[in-house]
Assembly symmetry: C2
Homo-oligomer: 78 residues x 2
Amino acid sequence: MAEKAAFYHAGCSVCVDAEPRFVGALDKNLYDVEVVHLGESKGRIDEAERAGVKSVPALVIAGAVYHINHGADLSALR
Amino acid sequence: MAEKAAFYHAGCSVCVDAEPRFVGALDKNLYDVEVVHLGESKGRIDEAERAGVKSVPALVIAGAVYHINHGADLSALR
């Protein structure tokens, strides 16, 4: 069964560019990637912060956070 | 046929952590990822720079550069 992963973004240009290419490149047999727009789902900013996300876009796989380029700091989304 | 992609790193701890998880998560049917250790292959630093790589680890897919977290600036590897 595919492992859960989350791609957090905020609709910024860096995020929008990264999302389809990045999420599309992942092996769907290995990872079930949920795309979370933190600008629209502000209630999930805390969840992202607990996972270790400092800025978006970021990908969380198996508890590890990968910040991809830099769109916006998480603190700027609150 | 799988498209070429390159994962540039320099053996740093951030790189070593990111490499297997990140490269392993990519869909091998879509991307043929070459892992390039710029500390051992200094002759390829120019190639990475031309592709737009500023720091490692970084993934280059279809001409787009994704800097993943931050291990070391490219300039520190010369």
